[in-house]
Subunit: 185 residues, 2 copies
DNA sequence: CCCATTACGCTACTCAAGGTATCGATACTA
DNA sequence: TAGTATCGATACCTTGAGTAGCGTAATGGG
């Protein structure tokens, strides 16, 4: 007896992965502003209405795509410092991947003036990482939120201002800076 | 003998300040996304075409408004640490002012996918402060750019994720964190 | 086998907003 | 008075997000 009974009617085709891939390649090729839902649908070989049947808005689609692309944060390391350093470098590497940084910056920007999207972004993308980091680092919520603001804010600001991801030397400086705060509050 | 001869034709009316004020109040009241150029023009008592005669795009208008609202950075303090601390607190206070934070976050977001706007934002808003800080702190360009990414990125990320400006305790932590890097690179 | 149910593709559509074109009126200089 | 450039007003173009309706394809149940 399955826990969730299969709902009646035609089952959904497994196109989520295809749409996510099309979203990232479209953003990479054309930029966030030109990555319209029409174009993403065309790139995925899917009707636009199908996309809106699965995600309520373009921002929700991008957010879901980002959640899928980021995956779980690797919490590896011998101590808290190593864990946090690994998480920062992982975030920097992810944001530097083609399309992800631009998509992230774009959806973040849209969220500023859109409370609904802000809630989606906060609960679906930020909260899981915040909770995982709280437990792994044994730090209070306010401090973890501060770390996230610093790390993600810095990486996105660089991406937005220059159009390029942050170079390795500056990522090193970012890791070093945050670790000092962790070790000597 | 005036240095710049007055150009022929009807002179421009002195409405820049009026439009800037209308822009901030409109953003404050309605949010960045709902602060359309039509509404800003109406709030300023000015025709939309007049706005487009003076600023080439909405982003350029917002940027000019921000440049006007921020004004010059105060570089006061006995030593480099005090100067940088004062600059960070000044930035945090400005971004917390009604409308400014939302406008900043909005135009920043738009700039991510708009190279033209990115150039305007970089040259007209960031560069003056970067240059002034380079001289006041006697630090290389890359380091000052890193500081700007950290400070502005953190403040904007908080503003974008929560819709509220950063609280005083976190601004203190931000100042403390950056000062450590300044004093012990 | 037929039916209810749901998903898909397609076309067409609405709506909002950035940005443009045109034109008459106005303010200033020479 | 002629020339120039601005302002306001109206109308318009274009793009893109999101929706509605319809025929069709799958699936499970009777």
């Amino acid at each position: 007896m399955p826990v969730t009974a299969r709902p009646p009617g035609r089952p959904r085709a497994g196109i989520d992965a295809t749409v996510f891939a099309a979203t990232l390649t479209t953003v990479t090729d054309l930029g966030y502003a030109n990555a319209t839902v029409d174009r993403i649908a065309a790139a995925a070989g899917v009707a636009k209405t199908t996309i809106y049947r699965r995600w309520p808005s373009k921002g929700a689609l991008i957010t879901a795509c980002l959640v899928d692309a980021f995956g779980p944060v690797p919490l590896t390391g011998a101590d808290r410092a190593e864990i946090l350093a690994a998480a920062i470098r992982w975030a920097a590497a992810k944001i530097a991947e083609p399309g992800i940084g631009a998509a992230f910056a774009g959806v973040f920007t849209d969220a500023v003036s859109d409370p609904d999207l802000r809630r989606i972004l906060s609960t679906q993308l930020q909260d899981p990482y915040r909770i995982a980091l709280q437990e792994a680092l044994d730090e209070p919520e306010t401090r973890v939120l501060f770390f996230i603001d610093v790390v993600i804010g810095t990486l996105i600001h660089r991406m937005g201002m220059t159009g390029e991801p942050m170079v390795a030397a500056d990522v090193d400086a970012l890791v070093d800076m945050v670790l000092r705060v962790l070790e000597r509050p």
